[in-house]
Symmetry: C2
Subunit: 151 residues, 2 copies
DNA sequence: AGTGAAAATAAGAACCC
DNA sequence: GGGTTCTTATTTTCACT
């Protein structure tokens, strides 16, 4: 499906999405026009889903990160779907994972401080009837590997 | 610190890091040269930390995502630091969070299939002496909100 | 800080191998 | 599928406000 040149293109764009097509082409040993076409196809096929700036949450007034594991009951579509919609609409929510395991959801939030976190937990989550259990993991440090390693 | 124009620039780049400077300038009502300078300063100040392509893990041969919560003992620097280094070096690791809460670490992994996941769990984590407890959450769906909502 | 115009550079299209 | 060239567009610098 993806050849080594495609993988190289993806890797470069994972590391720097704002690299110019000319530079990208040079890095992967292609002519600019060929490289442009490859990128276009990768986007069209959904291999490259988007390009996003990574902004410091602290600079944006949300220095505190936390993971919240949540169990809800009953775990039916009628309860699950509205819960997902509700959680995603919260400005504090950064990411939401629907998971199988000890918990049902893993919500990542970015907040101003501990008071703000408490408020989100109590007012947004524990107050909801379907939420039966909730655990909070305060994030000390978070490292994201933007580029996928080869297997 | 950041005025509303800076916030608008950050928001646009979070949504599309490959937007041209010309278009970005038009969206935030600045001249291209002014916009370019603002972006330069935002990068220099560390507000914008980088720009990354979001690639489909499935297309890269890792369709299965999982969160692994890990407790280690003892929780001392001599044990913690090597554990972090070790985990980050695993090709399957996508993200690592050092957290306070019921668990010590939250590791996000991308794997080929259930067999690969089992292998990672058994060979990479449970086999390590410092790992005292481990729980796996298989990810059904994962939604990431790239742009930070205003508070 | 912000702008507009000029020079340098890159993108994108047409065409060929 | 890949490359070269050419036209168009964008980026980036700089003198000025």
């Amino acid at each position: 499906m993806l050849d080594s040149v495609d993988l190289a293109i993806v890797r470069e764009l994972q590391n720097d999405a704002r690299i110019s097509n000319k530079n990208l082409a040079a890095k992967v040993n292609l002519a600019p026009s060929t490289c442009l076409e490859r990128v276009r196809i990768l986007r069209q096929r959904g291999v490259l889903r988007g390009f996003h700036a990574d902004a410091d949450p602290g600079a944006l007034g949300r220095p505190l990160l936390a993971f919240i594991t949540i169990r809800i009951r009953p775990h039916t579509r009628e309860i699950v779907d509205p819960f997902i919609t509700y959680t995603l609409q919260l400005p504090e929510t950064i990411a939401l994972s629907h998971v199988a395991g000890p918990d049902d959801f893993l919500v990542q939030v970015a907040v101003r401080d501990a008071t703000h976190l408490k408020q989100v937990l109590l007012e947004c989550f524990t107050s909801r009837r379907e939420v039966t259990q909730l655990q909070t993991h305060l994030v000390f440090s978070h490292i994201y590997k933007w580029a996928t390693d080869p297997m």
